[in-house]
């Protein structure tokens, strides 16, 4: 078991920077999720840690050693690949035992460890099968077992669930998380699925274009996104983001676009003249006159996403602002219907209209 640290790590492929000045420390036993859209450098960060790609600048630490120049096998890591990369001609037990065999572990010890790990993961009956005789879910489990049996210091996983169907994915998510808590091996987990990130990670690192945007516990990243990108990437449906002009007058702040205006009294901070207002669906509600709502605002229904217990209703105001409202599943609504809604004061996000950086909660 060990800590892991990227220190100003960069990686160029020719002239494209896949990873730029990436600094992040993972604690011993922590489950860290790297999340971001396609091409954001998640896999690159993982491969630098694994030693599968050479680092262009900066350092990678495992424990108290710089491992930049160590071969993968010297780093005491194990990796679960997206396509599992099981050795096709070997049985499950041979697959699991291969790493130990390469390390010259005695035969009986290999057998014992393989059997024990197989038992933990409930694949004891599959040991003599070949990978092609396994279902997708079973292969995934074998890949996990193969990584686990070597008792690595660090566990690396690159989208290990993306080849499973939705139900199996949800189930395996929980199992991996539980397993990791049991063995307490430091884990770096890559996914582009923000639900996976939020449900599995002790901390979540959000990436974009090779640059780390924000890192923190899932709740923090959700409640206090560092910028517009994180705000829009984390959460489903996404946070509603609208550009507005900001005017400070005396002790109050007015956000305005055409006839839409939202006034906040007793606001004393400096803000730039254009801002982006971010509103999560659960902070935008039908107008009921409650004291914690600002409004009412009027809008017409653009689209409806019904999930049974609740529905997400997307409305557009006459000024062209868009909000997604969380409403009760029993509330019936039709497209083009006019609605009045309010926004939860104290729960709204303000971002700098130019840089996208988070300013303040209002």
């Amino acid at each position: 078991m060990a800590t892991v640290r990227w220190e100003s790590a960069s990686k160029w492929f020719g002239r494209t920077a896949a990873l730029r000045d990436f600094s992040l420390a993972v604690e011993d036993g922590e489950f860290l999720v790297l999340v971001g859209p396609s091409g954001s450098g998640k896999t690159t960060a993982l491969r630098l840690l694994a030693g599968l790609d050479s680092i262009s600048a900066g350092h990678v630490w495992i424990g108290d050693r710089i491992v930049d120049r160590l071969a993968p096998q010297e780093r005491k890591i194990a990796m679960v690949f997206q396509d599992y990369a099981l050795y096709p001609q070997m049985s499950v037990s041979q697959n699991m035992g291969f790493g130990l065999r390469m390390a010259n572990v005695p035969r009986q010890d290999i057998e014992r460890q393989v059997a024990a790990t197989a038992h933990t993961l409930g694949i004891g009956e599959l040991l003599e099968r070949k990978p092609r005789e396994l279902s997708g879910g079973q292969r995934q489990r074998v890949a996990l077992a193969r990584a686990l049996v070597r008792q690595p210091q660090v566990f690396l996983m690159d989208e290990p669930l993306s080849n499973l169907d939705a139900q199996l994915r949800a189930q395996t998510r929980g199992e991996i998380k539980r397993l990791q808590k049991d063995v307490r091996i430091t884990t770096v987990y890559v996914t582009h699925d923000q639900v996976e990130a939020m449900t599995m990670g002790d901390r979540v690192a959000v990436m974009r274009d090779g640059v780390l945007q924000q890192v923190g516990p899932p709740g923090t990243v959700y409640d206090q996104p560092a910028n517009v990108f994180v705000a829009s990437f984390i959460g489903s449906p996404a946070m509603s983001l609208n550009a507005l002009a900001a005017e400070r007058r005396g002790g109050s702040l007015t956000l305005r676009r055409d006839t839409f205006s939202l006034e906040l009294s007793s606001f004393s901070r400096d803000v730039p003249s254009t801002v982006t207002l971010g509103v999560r669906p659960e902070q935008a509600r039908l107008w009921d006159g409650a004291a914690n709502l600002v409004g009412p605002f009027g809008g017409t229904v653009e689209s409806i996403e019904e999930l049974g217990r609740e529905s997400f209703v997307s409305v557009v105001t006459p000024e062209g602002l868009r909000f997604v409202l969380l409403v009760d599943g029993s509330f019936s609504v039709a497209i083009d219907q006019r609605l009045s809604f309010g926004l939860r004061s104290g729960q709204l996000h303000l971002f700098d209209g130019e840089t996208g950086h988070a300013l303040v909660r209002i």
Partner: protein, 261 residues
């Protein structure tokens, strides 16, 4: 109805091609047997043509070429298919020249070169050029296979602590078996059937290969068509046997480029 018809057409065409391919072979067989089903012709040809010596020489040369080119092709194909190093494209281009160049072109200068080294009229005079030629194609062939294997397989092996030799030995070679067998059959056929190179390099009858021995029937015994045919059958036999024994693997290897594992 339609399907029936299409199937009929398919079979007709296939049978036609089959007939065209098999007819000369059948003709040779018929001539060799000389009308009756007795094997005196073969015994006669065997003794008259000194085919026993030819067989020994062919076996020695072909075995060496097949084994050497298989080993070398696997190694060079592995390097060119899975590793990046300075000059790799250039080296591969050189191998490609060996594939596309007509073999007849350099054969005369080759003769003088090998004579200068004293290698003509020895097994090496045929083994070395044949191996070189086979390795050019073999590298091309094996590289294509190694390129088609998932990179993650090699990376998983590296993380599992396998050296590049162990990765080849334990992970990739077992997967490459059908491909490699196909290569070995092809090289076997080319080397076994080679005539021109042996003709140029080997003038001493004691080290001449089977196809060269056959030529003897054409010179001194012009009229002896049935001995020639019997000899031809003897020369063909090992190729047919090897093909029949390995055909299952052979087909799989030939297809493995098209079908995923």
């Amino acid at each position: 109805m339609r399907l029936r018809f299409e199937q009929g057409v398919t079979y007709t065409v296939l049978l036609l091609f089959c007939a065209v391919a098999v007819a000369p072979l059948l003709g040779i067989l018929v001539v060799a047997l000389g009308g009756g089903a007795h094997f005196d012709n073969f015994v006669g040809a065997w003794n008259a043509g000194d085919l026993g010596t030819g067989l020994r020489n062919s076996v020695v040369i072909t075995t060496t070429v097949v084994v050497a080119s298989a080993v070398l092709s696997v190694l060079s194909g592995y390097a060119l298919g899975t590793m990046r190093f300075r000059g790799d494209t250039l080296i591969f281009a050189v191998f490609l020249i060996g594939v596309v160049m007509p073999f007849e072109a350099p054969i005369v200068p080759l003769y003088y070169d090998l004579r200068a080294f004293g290698l003509t009229d020895s097994y090496w005079g045929v083994i070395l050029p044949d191996t070189a030629l086979s390795v050019a194609f073999g590298t091309f062939w094996m590289r294509a296979f190694f390129l088609s294997t998932p990179v993650s397989l090699i990376e998983a092996a590296r993380i599992d602590g396998a050296s590049s030799r162990a990765t080849l030995q334990h992970i990739l070679l077992p997967l490459a078996r059908p491909h490699l067998l196909t290569l070995m059959v092809l090289v076997f056929m080319w080397t076994w059937n080679d005539f021109l190179l042996s003709l140029v390099m080997l003038s001493n009858p004691s080290i001449q290969t089977l196809p060269l021995k056959l030529a003897v029937f054409q010179g001194r015994y012009v009229t002896d068509v049935s001995s020639l045919a019997s000899g031809a059958v003897i020369v063909m036999l090992p190729v047919v046997l090897v093909y029949i024994i390995l055909q299952r693997h052979f087909m799989r290897g030939a297809l493995s480029g098209a079908l995923k594992l």
